[in-house]
Amino acid sequence: MQVVLSALALGLVFGFLLQKAGLTHYDKVVNQFRFRDFTLMKFMLSAILVAMVGIYALKDLGLLEIASLPETYSVGNIVGGLIFGAGMAIAGMCPGTVLTGAGQGNLDYLVAGGLGFVTGGMLFGATYETLFLPLLDLAPPEALTLETALRVNHWLFIAIFALMVAVFFWLTEIKGKTGRTDAEKTDA
Protein backbone atom coordinates (compact mmCIF):
# COMPACT_ATOMS: atom_id res chain seq x y z
CA MET A 1 0.00 0.00 0.00
CA GLN A 2 2.82 2.36 0.87
CA VAL A 3 4.39 1.68 -2.51
CA VAL A 4 1.10 2.40 -4.27
CA LEU A 5 0.72 5.69 -2.46
CA SER A 6 4.30 6.76 -3.12
CA ALA A 7 3.97 5.91 -6.82
CA LEU A 8 0.75 7.87 -6.99
CA ALA A 9 2.20 10.86 -5.13
CA LEU A 10 5.34 10.84 -7.25
CA GLY A 11 3.23 10.82 -10.41
CA LEU A 12 0.92 13.56 -9.15
CA VAL A 13 3.74 16.02 -8.48
CA PHE A 14 5.58 15.07 -11.68
CA GLY A 15 2.44 15.52 -13.80
CA PHE A 16 1.47 18.74 -12.05
CA LEU A 17 4.87 20.31 -12.74
CA LEU A 18 5.00 19.25 -16.40
CA GLN A 19 1.57 20.78 -16.95
CA LYS A 20 2.41 24.03 -15.15
CA ALA A 21 5.56 24.39 -17.24
CA GLY A 22 3.37 24.04 -20.36
CA LEU A 23 5.31 21.09 -21.79
CA THR A 24 1.98 19.32 -22.31
CA HIS A 25 1.47 21.54 -25.38
CA TYR A 26 2.82 20.63 -28.83
CA ASP A 27 4.22 24.11 -29.51
CA LYS A 28 6.45 24.09 -26.41
CA VAL A 29 8.33 21.06 -27.65
CA VAL A 30 8.57 21.86 -31.33
CA ASN A 31 9.47 25.51 -30.69
CA GLN A 32 12.42 24.38 -28.59
CA PHE A 33 13.73 22.59 -31.68
CA ARG A 34 13.09 25.82 -33.63
CA PHE A 35 14.89 27.94 -30.97
CA ARG A 36 11.76 30.06 -30.50
CA ASP A 37 10.81 28.95 -26.98
CA PHE A 38 13.37 27.71 -24.48
CA THR A 39 10.94 26.37 -21.88
CA LEU A 40 11.99 22.75 -22.41
CA MET A 41 15.70 23.49 -21.93
CA LYS A 42 15.04 25.74 -18.94
CA PHE A 43 12.92 23.06 -17.30
CA MET A 44 15.37 20.22 -17.93
CA LEU A 45 18.52 22.12 -17.03
CA SER A 46 17.12 23.46 -13.76
CA ALA A 47 15.83 20.00 -12.80
CA ILE A 48 19.18 18.38 -13.59
CA LEU A 49 21.25 21.01 -11.78
CA VAL A 50 19.16 20.97 -8.59
CA ALA A 51 19.09 17.16 -8.57
CA MET A 52 22.83 16.89 -9.29
CA VAL A 53 23.80 19.20 -6.43
CA GLY A 54 21.30 17.58 -4.06
CA ILE A 55 22.29 14.01 -4.78
CA TYR A 56 26.04 14.53 -4.64
CA ALA A 57 25.79 16.71 -1.51
CA LEU A 58 23.79 13.96 0.22
CA LYS A 59 26.28 11.38 -1.01
CA ASP A 60 29.23 13.33 0.40
CA LEU A 61 27.38 13.60 3.72
CA GLY A 62 27.02 9.82 3.72
CA LEU A 63 23.23 10.00 3.53
CA LEU A 64 22.88 8.34 0.15
CA GLU A 65 24.63 5.87 -2.12
CA ILE A 66 24.76 5.97 -5.89
CA ALA A 67 23.22 2.55 -6.43
CA SER A 68 20.82 2.63 -9.37
CA LEU A 69 22.45 4.20 -12.38
CA PRO A 70 21.21 4.29 -16.00
CA GLU A 71 23.71 2.14 -17.87
CA THR A 72 26.05 3.52 -20.46
CA TYR A 73 26.32 1.64 -23.76
CA SER A 74 27.36 4.37 -26.12
CA VAL A 75 26.09 3.01 -29.44
CA GLY A 76 22.64 2.26 -28.03
CA ASN A 77 22.38 5.49 -26.03
CA ILE A 78 23.22 7.53 -29.14
CA VAL A 79 21.24 5.57 -31.76
CA GLY A 80 18.24 5.36 -29.43
CA GLY A 81 18.53 9.07 -28.66
CA LEU A 82 18.57 9.92 -32.37
CA ILE A 83 15.45 7.81 -33.03
CA PHE A 84 13.78 9.26 -29.94
CA GLY A 85 14.49 12.86 -30.98
CA ALA A 86 13.13 12.25 -34.48
CA GLY A 87 9.86 10.94 -33.05
CA MET A 88 9.71 13.79 -30.56
CA ALA A 89 9.96 16.31 -33.41
CA ILE A 90 7.13 14.61 -35.31
CA ALA A 91 4.67 14.22 -32.44
CA GLY A 92 5.83 17.10 -30.22
CA MET A 93 5.78 15.01 -27.07
CA CYS A 94 7.75 12.50 -25.01
CA PRO A 95 6.69 9.60 -22.77
CA GLY A 96 6.07 11.91 -19.80
CA THR A 97 4.18 14.55 -21.72
CA VAL A 98 1.91 12.14 -23.59
CA LEU A 99 0.42 11.14 -20.23
CA THR A 100 0.21 14.67 -18.89
CA GLY A 101 -1.04 16.07 -22.21
CA ALA A 102 -3.81 13.49 -22.08
CA GLY A 103 -4.53 14.68 -18.54
CA GLN A 104 -5.15 18.24 -19.72
CA GLY A 105 -7.65 17.01 -22.34
CA ASN A 106 -5.53 16.49 -25.47
CA LEU A 107 -7.41 13.66 -27.19
CA ASP A 108 -4.73 13.21 -29.86
CA TYR A 109 -2.27 12.44 -27.04
CA LEU A 110 -4.69 10.12 -25.26
CA VAL A 111 -5.80 8.03 -28.25
CA ALA A 112 -3.22 8.24 -31.04
CA GLY A 113 -0.34 8.80 -28.61
CA GLY A 114 -1.41 6.09 -26.19
CA LEU A 115 -1.79 3.53 -28.99
CA GLY A 116 1.51 4.60 -30.52
CA PHE A 117 3.52 4.29 -27.31
CA VAL A 118 2.15 0.83 -26.54
CA THR A 119 2.81 -0.24 -30.15
CA GLY A 120 6.34 1.14 -29.87
CA GLY A 121 6.82 -0.91 -26.70
CA MET A 122 5.66 -4.01 -28.56
CA LEU A 123 7.94 -3.26 -31.49
CA PHE A 124 10.90 -2.99 -29.14
CA GLY A 125 9.94 -6.26 -27.43
CA ALA A 126 9.53 -7.99 -30.80
CA THR A 127 12.98 -6.90 -31.99
CA TYR A 128 14.73 -7.29 -28.63
CA GLU A 129 16.57 -10.51 -29.50
CA THR A 130 17.28 -9.83 -33.16
CA LEU A 131 18.17 -6.16 -32.93
CA PHE A 132 18.78 -4.92 -29.40
CA LEU A 133 20.96 -7.72 -28.01
CA PRO A 134 23.36 -7.65 -31.01
CA LEU A 135 23.51 -3.87 -30.58
CA LEU A 136 24.60 -4.36 -26.96
CA ASP A 137 27.50 -6.50 -28.21
CA LEU A 138 28.87 -3.43 -29.98
CA ALA A 139 29.12 -1.54 -26.70
CA PRO A 140 28.32 -3.59 -23.58
CA PRO A 141 26.40 -1.78 -20.81
CA GLU A 142 28.39 -0.41 -17.89
CA ALA A 143 27.18 1.43 -14.79
CA LEU A 144 29.46 4.44 -15.19
CA THR A 145 29.60 8.00 -13.98
CA LEU A 146 31.96 10.64 -15.34
CA GLU A 147 33.70 10.47 -11.97
CA THR A 148 34.39 6.73 -12.06
CA ALA A 149 35.18 6.76 -15.79
CA LEU A 150 37.60 9.69 -15.75
CA ARG A 151 38.76 9.56 -12.10
CA VAL A 152 38.04 13.22 -11.50
CA ASN A 153 36.10 14.57 -8.50
CA HIS A 154 32.38 14.93 -9.16
CA TRP A 155 32.26 18.58 -8.07
CA LEU A 156 34.41 19.54 -11.05
CA PHE A 157 31.72 18.27 -13.44
CA ILE A 158 28.96 19.81 -11.34
CA ALA A 159 30.76 23.18 -11.41
CA ILE A 160 31.16 23.00 -15.20
CA PHE A 161 27.50 22.08 -15.59
CA ALA A 162 26.43 24.91 -13.26
CA LEU A 163 28.51 27.35 -15.28
CA MET A 164 26.83 26.20 -18.50
CA VAL A 165 23.41 26.64 -16.95
CA ALA A 166 24.41 30.11 -15.72
CA VAL A 167 25.49 31.11 -19.23
CA PHE A 168 22.23 29.73 -20.64
CA PHE A 169 20.28 31.65 -17.98
CA TRP A 170 22.12 34.84 -18.87
CA LEU A 171 21.53 34.37 -22.61
CA THR A 172 17.81 33.61 -22.29
CA GLU A 173 16.75 35.72 -19.30
CA ILE A 174 19.09 38.69 -18.99
CA LYS A 175 20.70 39.45 -22.34
CA GLY A 176 17.35 39.66 -24.16
CA LYS A 177 15.51 42.86 -23.20
CA THR A 178 12.50 41.08 -21.78
CA GLY A 179 14.18 37.79 -21.16
CA ARG A 180 11.61 35.86 -23.11
CA THR A 181 11.20 35.01 -26.76
CA ASP A 182 8.10 36.14 -28.66
CA ALA A 183 6.68 32.63 -28.53
CA GLU A 184 7.09 32.53 -24.75
CA LYS A 185 5.49 35.96 -24.32
CA THR A 186 2.33 35.12 -26.22
CA ASP A 187 1.78 32.17 -23.92
CA ALA A 188 1.09 34.15 -20.72
Partner: protein, 171 residues
Protein backbone atom coordinates in the same frame (compact mmCIF):
# COMPACT_ATOMS: atom_id res chain seq x y z
CA UNK B 1 -0.35 30.40 -7.34
CA UNK B 2 -2.01 27.07 -8.16
CA UNK B 3 -4.45 28.94 -10.40
CA UNK B 4 -1.71 30.45 -12.54
CA UNK B 5 -1.59 28.99 -16.02
CA UNK B 6 2.18 28.93 -16.29
CA UNK B 7 4.92 28.61 -13.75
CA UNK B 8 8.39 29.73 -14.69
CA UNK B 9 10.13 26.69 -16.14
CA UNK B 10 13.07 27.46 -13.83
CA UNK B 11 10.78 27.10 -10.81
CA UNK B 12 8.87 24.06 -12.09
CA UNK B 13 12.14 22.43 -13.18
CA UNK B 14 13.86 23.08 -9.85
CA UNK B 15 10.91 21.55 -8.02
CA UNK B 16 11.17 18.50 -10.26
CA UNK B 17 14.85 18.36 -9.30
CA UNK B 18 13.87 18.32 -5.61
CA UNK B 19 11.42 15.50 -6.38
CA UNK B 20 14.17 13.57 -8.17
CA UNK B 21 16.49 13.91 -5.14
CA UNK B 22 13.78 12.86 -2.68
CA UNK B 23 12.84 9.89 -4.87
CA UNK B 24 16.46 8.80 -5.09
CA UNK B 25 17.32 9.35 -1.43
CA UNK B 26 14.15 7.78 0.00
CA UNK B 27 13.36 5.01 -2.46
CA UNK B 28 16.61 4.61 -4.41
CA UNK B 29 14.62 5.11 -7.60
CA UNK B 30 15.25 7.38 -10.55
CA UNK B 31 12.48 9.35 -12.22
CA UNK B 32 11.51 7.50 -15.37
CA UNK B 33 8.52 7.00 -17.61
CA UNK B 34 9.17 5.04 -20.79
CA UNK B 35 9.55 1.69 -18.98
CA UNK B 36 5.86 1.92 -18.07
CA UNK B 37 4.86 1.65 -21.72
CA UNK B 38 6.85 -1.60 -21.94
CA UNK B 39 4.80 -2.85 -18.97
CA UNK B 40 1.61 -1.83 -20.79
CA UNK B 41 2.77 -3.55 -23.98
CA UNK B 42 3.53 -6.69 -22.00
CA UNK B 43 0.11 -6.64 -20.32
CA UNK B 44 -1.62 -6.12 -23.64
CA UNK B 45 0.35 -8.86 -25.44
CA UNK B 46 -0.53 -11.30 -22.66
CA UNK B 47 -4.20 -10.28 -22.49
CA UNK B 48 -4.60 -10.64 -26.26
CA UNK B 49 -2.69 -13.97 -26.22
CA UNK B 50 -0.26 -12.68 -28.85
CA UNK B 51 2.65 -15.02 -29.66
CA UNK B 52 4.81 -12.03 -28.74
CA UNK B 53 3.87 -12.57 -25.08
CA UNK B 54 6.06 -15.69 -25.05
CA UNK B 55 9.15 -13.82 -26.24
CA UNK B 56 12.13 -13.52 -23.92
CA UNK B 57 11.45 -9.82 -23.51
CA UNK B 58 7.83 -10.04 -22.46
CA UNK B 59 8.19 -13.18 -20.36
CA UNK B 60 11.50 -12.53 -18.60
CA UNK B 61 12.74 -8.96 -19.03
CA UNK B 62 9.37 -7.19 -18.68
CA UNK B 63 6.82 -9.71 -17.41
CA UNK B 64 3.19 -8.52 -17.40
CA UNK B 65 2.33 -6.88 -14.08
CA UNK B 66 0.70 -3.80 -12.61
CA UNK B 67 4.02 -2.11 -11.96
CA UNK B 68 5.14 0.91 -9.97
CA UNK B 69 5.30 2.74 -13.29
CA UNK B 70 1.65 2.12 -14.09
CA UNK B 71 0.48 3.54 -10.76
CA UNK B 72 2.81 6.48 -11.35
CA UNK B 73 1.14 6.88 -14.77
CA UNK B 74 -2.25 7.28 -13.10
CA UNK B 75 -0.72 9.89 -10.80
CA UNK B 76 0.82 11.80 -13.71
CA UNK B 77 -2.47 11.87 -15.58
CA UNK B 78 -4.28 13.11 -12.48
CA UNK B 79 -1.57 15.66 -11.65
CA UNK B 80 -1.90 17.25 -15.08
CA UNK B 81 -5.70 17.09 -14.86
CA UNK B 82 -5.70 18.93 -11.52
CA UNK B 83 -3.10 21.48 -12.67
CA UNK B 84 -5.02 22.29 -15.85
CA UNK B 85 -8.44 22.39 -14.16
CA UNK B 86 -7.12 24.85 -11.54
CA UNK B 87 -5.77 27.21 -14.20
CA UNK B 88 -8.47 26.77 -16.83
CA UNK B 89 -5.95 25.25 -19.24
CA UNK B 90 -8.01 22.05 -19.38
CA UNK B 91 -9.87 21.66 -22.65
CA UNK B 92 -10.81 18.71 -24.82
CA UNK B 93 -8.55 19.18 -27.83
CA UNK B 94 -8.50 17.27 -31.09
CA UNK B 95 -5.58 19.34 -32.37
CA UNK B 96 -2.85 21.35 -30.64
CA UNK B 97 -3.76 24.98 -29.80
CA UNK B 98 -0.72 26.45 -31.55
CA UNK B 99 1.74 25.93 -34.41
CA UNK B 100 0.36 22.66 -35.77
CA UNK B 101 -2.46 24.01 -37.98
CA UNK B 102 -0.26 26.83 -39.32
CA UNK B 103 2.25 24.31 -40.59
CA UNK B 104 0.39 21.10 -41.27
CA UNK B 105 -3.16 22.30 -41.95
CA UNK B 106 -6.44 21.59 -40.11
CA UNK B 107 -6.68 17.86 -40.92
CA UNK B 108 -7.30 15.87 -37.75
CA UNK B 109 -6.52 12.59 -39.50
CA UNK B 110 -3.09 13.90 -40.50
CA UNK B 111 -2.31 14.99 -36.93
CA UNK B 112 -3.47 11.73 -35.40
CA UNK B 113 -1.58 9.57 -37.91
CA UNK B 114 1.59 11.59 -37.35
CA UNK B 115 1.18 11.43 -33.56
CA UNK B 116 0.77 7.67 -33.79
CA UNK B 117 3.85 7.28 -35.97
CA UNK B 118 5.88 9.68 -33.86
CA UNK B 119 4.87 7.85 -30.68
CA UNK B 120 5.90 4.46 -32.04
CA UNK B 121 9.28 5.93 -33.01
CA UNK B 122 9.76 7.65 -29.62
CA UNK B 123 9.02 4.54 -27.59
CA UNK B 124 11.14 2.32 -29.83
CA UNK B 125 14.00 4.80 -29.48
CA UNK B 126 13.57 4.90 -25.70
CA UNK B 127 13.88 1.10 -25.64
CA UNK B 128 17.11 1.18 -27.63
CA UNK B 129 18.57 4.07 -25.63
CA UNK B 130 17.61 2.61 -22.26
CA UNK B 131 15.33 5.45 -21.14
CA UNK B 132 13.64 8.68 -22.11
CA UNK B 133 13.80 12.39 -21.41
CA UNK B 134 13.28 11.75 -17.71
CA UNK B 135 14.88 8.33 -17.17
CA UNK B 136 18.06 9.12 -19.09
CA UNK B 137 18.05 12.83 -19.91
CA UNK B 138 17.30 14.09 -16.40
CA UNK B 139 18.04 11.08 -14.18
CA UNK B 140 21.15 9.92 -16.00
CA UNK B 141 22.68 13.35 -16.22
CA UNK B 142 21.92 14.26 -12.59
CA UNK B 143 23.97 11.20 -11.58
CA UNK B 144 26.75 12.21 -14.02
CA UNK B 145 26.16 9.07 -16.09
CA UNK B 146 27.61 9.44 -19.61
CA UNK B 147 24.46 7.72 -20.94
CA UNK B 148 22.33 10.74 -19.98
CA UNK B 149 24.58 13.23 -21.74
CA UNK B 150 24.89 11.09 -24.87
CA UNK B 151 21.11 10.74 -24.97
CA UNK B 152 20.37 14.46 -24.58
CA UNK B 153 22.83 15.46 -27.30
CA UNK B 154 21.56 12.80 -29.74
CA UNK B 155 17.92 13.60 -28.98
CA UNK B 156 18.33 17.34 -29.56
CA UNK B 157 20.44 16.85 -32.70
CA UNK B 158 17.80 14.61 -34.31
CA UNK B 159 14.94 16.75 -32.99
CA UNK B 160 16.36 19.91 -34.55
CA UNK B 161 17.16 18.19 -37.85
CA UNK B 162 13.75 16.54 -38.23
CA UNK B 163 11.92 19.73 -37.25
CA UNK B 164 13.88 21.58 -39.95
CA UNK B 165 12.85 18.96 -42.50
CA UNK B 166 9.20 19.03 -41.43
CA UNK B 167 8.90 22.81 -41.32
CA UNK B 168 10.96 23.54 -44.43
CA UNK B 169 10.88 27.24 -45.24
CA UNK B 170 8.73 27.93 -42.22
CA UNK B 171 11.47 26.71 -39.87
Amino acid sequence: MFREKRWSPWVAGSLLGVLAVANYALANRILSVSGGFEDLASLLATTLHLPLADSIFFSLVVPPQISFHLIQFAGMFLGALVASLLSGDFKLRLLPDKEWVDNFGPSRAKRWVLVFMGSVIIQFGAGIAGGCTSGLGISGTMLLAPSGLLFIVACFAAGILVTRLLYGRRY
